[in-house]
């Protein structure tokens, strides 16, 4: 997103930068390595604390510090079509160790609203059971605490573990790939993440191996006030294949929580990576209070020829979503795909899309974006298709559809197309439809309630994306839309 950033830089306010640099030692404290939770605030000291806590090798600490120093020179982006109150980066806790015991002893301790939502979604709280047949690497707070199916994967030479474990056990791989797709200078939130990330997932598929399981990570935010800075790195070596699922449900929160993850994917020659996300962070209440700020940098690089990276996302949560899963098509004949459903209801805001950068010859990209706005939700699609000079015969097809429910919501489309090769072909189609009163009436006349009619029509609208999702994810995504749209008709 760096081009987008620099082209639309505005409001040269030094305030923010000042805030970090000047206040750095205001919170002076003695870092105690025994502490489970760091005090709020960000400084080099905190970064050293995190790195030490995690027994990291020197190169990683250096990288974090470089990122931090660079971040201090940057400004928070203003170009996304979203509004929110300024984030106080000195009021965030950047490290919290996992709780030893289970956070909650019984369902009675869980927010009843959340339980209701889970029930509607058909998710038993023992989520892992639901995921039978799927390897789960659950991230509770900032440190991974559970990894399953590891043995089976290990037999095949697949590495699937927490990022922290990978740093300790596969430092060579981390050193080789970290920051090669999303450099620490990339953008404000990616730099911040690079400086302070606490954990995430790592996955390496060796040459010629097709991963037999859908790899899945469940992210959760559990400690109040803990910013989440995950880092995911997936490397698919030559002729390998992997499908990765990322999903999340977050409990009710009163305070806005920043979530600034970075995901890097690398596909070598003939390799395929499919990355699917169902994102359901707490969106805030009807008035927009609370809710997660989801500022994520996701990018893949089709390094080798004939490689393929496919992003599928269903975004229903978060107060604010700022997210552009992208593909750099470097290898000849490589393919990048982006299938997205983004729903905004009530006061939710989403500015999401993708970036396809065609570098190699005969590269292809396919973008299908479905935006649904209800309530006062604001939904923006922002996509860049860039064809570089050498990318002969590159082809892109973009289809960008918006659906409006009601007349207080909005849909916006910002396509950016830059083509430097005359033998390439870029197609863009866009549509905006209002969910039809006649469609709802037709359903009602057949005995279907208006609520069910709306979710049926919306699901139909999203079908092209849902069919890209793995089966059980598709089912969940449908239910999620239903729950998210509740109360948006009538």
């Amino acid at each position: 997103m760096s081009e987008l950033l620099t082209t639309e830089k505005e409001n040269e306010t030094e305030d923010i930068v000042d805030a970090y640099t000047k206040q750095e030692y205001k919170f002076g404290f003695v870092t105690d390595i025994e502490m489970d939770t760091a005090p709020p605030g960000l400084s080099e000291e905190i970064i050293r604390f995190i790195s030490k806590k995690k027994n990291e090798p020197e190169f990683l600490l250096d990288w974090r510090l470089q990122a931090y120093r660079h971040w201090q020179t940057m400004e928070e982006p203003k170009w996304p079509n979203v509004n929110y109150n300024a984030i106080d980066y000195q009021n965030i806790i950047y490290y919290a160790a996992p709780k030893k015991k289970v956070t909650l002893n019984s369902l009675d301790e869980v927010d009843p609203e959340l339980i209701k939502t889970y029930e509607k979604l058909g998710i038993p709280l023992a989520e892992q059971k639901r995921l039978t047949g799927v390897a789960v690497d659950a991230v509770f707070d900032s440190v991974s605490v559970a990894t399953t199916f590891k043995a089976k994967l290990e037999e095949m030479g697949i590495v699937f573990c927490s990022f922290s474990d990978a740093v300790l056990n596969h430092p060579d791989l981390i050193k080789r790939y970290l920051g090669t797709v999303v450099p620490y200078r990339d953008n404000f939130f990616a730099s911040l993440n690079s400086a302070v990330f606490t954990d995430g997932s790592f996955c390496y598929i060796p040459k010629g191996v097709k991963c037999p399981l859908e790899l899945s990570t469940y992210f959760r935010i559990n400690t109040a006030g803990t910013g989440q800075f995950e880092r995911t790195l997936i490397v698919a070596d030559e002729d390998s294949e992997v499908s990765y699922l990322e999903g999340c449900t977050a409990p009710m929160r009163d305070e806005n929580q920043l979530h600034a993850a970075v995901v890097e994917l690398i596909a070598h020659k003939n390799a395929k990576i499919k990355y699917s996300t169902v994102q359901n962070w707490y969106p805030g209440d009807k008035n927009g209070k609370g809710g997660i700020y989801n500022f994520v940098t996701k990018r893949g690089r089709c390094e080798g020829e004939n490689s393929k990276i496919s992003w599928t996302q269903v975004e229903t949560g978060s107060a604010i979503t700022w997210k552009y899963p992208s593909v750099i098509l470097k290898g000849d004949n490589s393919i990048g795909e982006f299938y997205s459903v983004a729903l905004t209801n009530n006061m939710q805001q989403a500015d999401t899309g993708t970036k396809m950068v065609h570098m190699g010859k005969n590269t292809r990209s396919n973008i299908v974006s479905k935006g649904i706005s209800a309530g006062k939700g604001q939904n923006s699609y922002r996509g860049l298709v860039k064809v570089l000079k050498n990318a002969s015969n590159a082809r892109n097809y973009t289809q960008c559809d918006s659906m409006l429910l009601g007349d207080r919501c909005g849909a916006h489309t910002f396509p950016y197309i830059e083509v430097a090769n005359t033998k390439s072909q870029v197609e863009h189609e866009a549509s905006t439809s209002k969910i039809g009163e006649d469609q709802i009436f037709y359903c009602q006349q057949r005995g279907i309630s208006p609520e069910d009619a709306v979710s049926m029509i919306v699901n139909g609208f999203c079908k092209e994306v849902f069919k890209e999702l793995p089966m059980e994810f598709a089912v969940e995504a449908k239910k999620l839309l239903e729950v998210s749209l509740e109360g948006s008709v009538g």
């Binding site: 039809g436 469609q439 009436f441 057949r446 005995g447 279907i448 208006p450 049926m456 029509i457 139909g460």
Partner: protein
């Protein structure tokens, strides 16, 4: 089955129905005919619960209950079905899924357990054969890209599956060739029995050659201006609507006949 008393309705400020009276008993087939714009679809849509139209006066009793008080989906579950003059497309939603949801909504209302996918498919198979509807068609999205004939057949197919007490067919014959017309008509004939009622709205009389109505009503300018037995259809065929129009117009107060 249904009793419509002095029904007046308007849209925006335009009066469309101007005092409709109509009683339909169990087992009867009534045809409503009339020139374009006379209010036939409006009447059908009001019975189905369309909120675009505002009922300003009158009452409708369906199986002893106040129909106008019910939401459209409740009317459907209570046993009213309307075959649309212009069936609506619902992209991405398969006919099977749509119909199964509809059927299970109705079953639930009647206190019946939902049908699972297998039971449902077994149940619709027979009706599909009858109407010449193949698997490909019902795997497609509801009405999306359907030909005119396919849309109409699909409406009748839905009627058969949902098995209402009162079926209202709004110009289900228009745009059909003679073969399709016969298929649709036989679908209706199969459906009707001594427990069911049918309202056939049509502009032409040719459908009535295949579905014999017990009564025919001519709707003109928001009023039923003539009622009779099935022979009325032939009278209309011979003379067109002009005579009825003229008679009706001359019976009206002057200012309304000009308007």
């Amino acid at each position: 089955m249904i009793e419509i008393k002095n029904l007046w309705a308007k849209i925006e400020d335009k009066g469309i129905l101007k005092g409709i009276n109509l009683t339909i008993n169990k087992g009867e087939v009534h045809a409503i005919m009339g020139p374009n714009g006379s209010g036939k679809s409006t009447l059908a849509q009001i019975l189905a619960g369309r909120e675009t139209y505002e009922v300003t006066e009158g009452s409708v009793t369906f199986k002893g209950k106040d129909l106008l008080d019910m939401d459209p989906e409740i009317r459907a579950r209570e046993g009213i079905f309307m075959a649309f003059q212009y069936p609506v497309e619902i992209p991405g939603v398969s006919c099977t899924y749509f119909l199964k949801s509809a059927l299970n909504g109705i079953r639930d209302h009647k206190g019946q357990p939902p049908l699972d996918a297998m039971e449902f498919l077994a149940m619709i198979r027979e009706k599909m054969d009858l109407l010449g509807i193949d698997q490909n068609l019902i795997n497609r999205a509801v009405n999306e890209g359907f030909s005119g004939g396919e849309k109409k057949r699909n409406e009748i197919f839905q009627m058969q599956v949902l098995n209402p007490d009162l079926a209202i067919l709004d110009e289900t014959d228009s745009g059909l060739d003679i073969d399709a017309l016969k298929v649709v008509a036989s679908g209706v004939t199969q459906f009707k029995n001594s427990e069911k009622s049918v309202i056939v709205v049509t502009h032409y009389q040719r459908l009535l050659d295949y579905i014999t109505p017990d009564f025919i009503h001519v709707l003109y300018n928001g009023r039923i201006v003539k009622s009779g037995g099935k022979e009325l259809a032939h009278e209309l065929e011979d003379q067109g609507y002009d005579r009825i129009k003229n008679e009706a117009d001359s019976a009206l107060p002057v200012e309304e006949s000009i308007a």
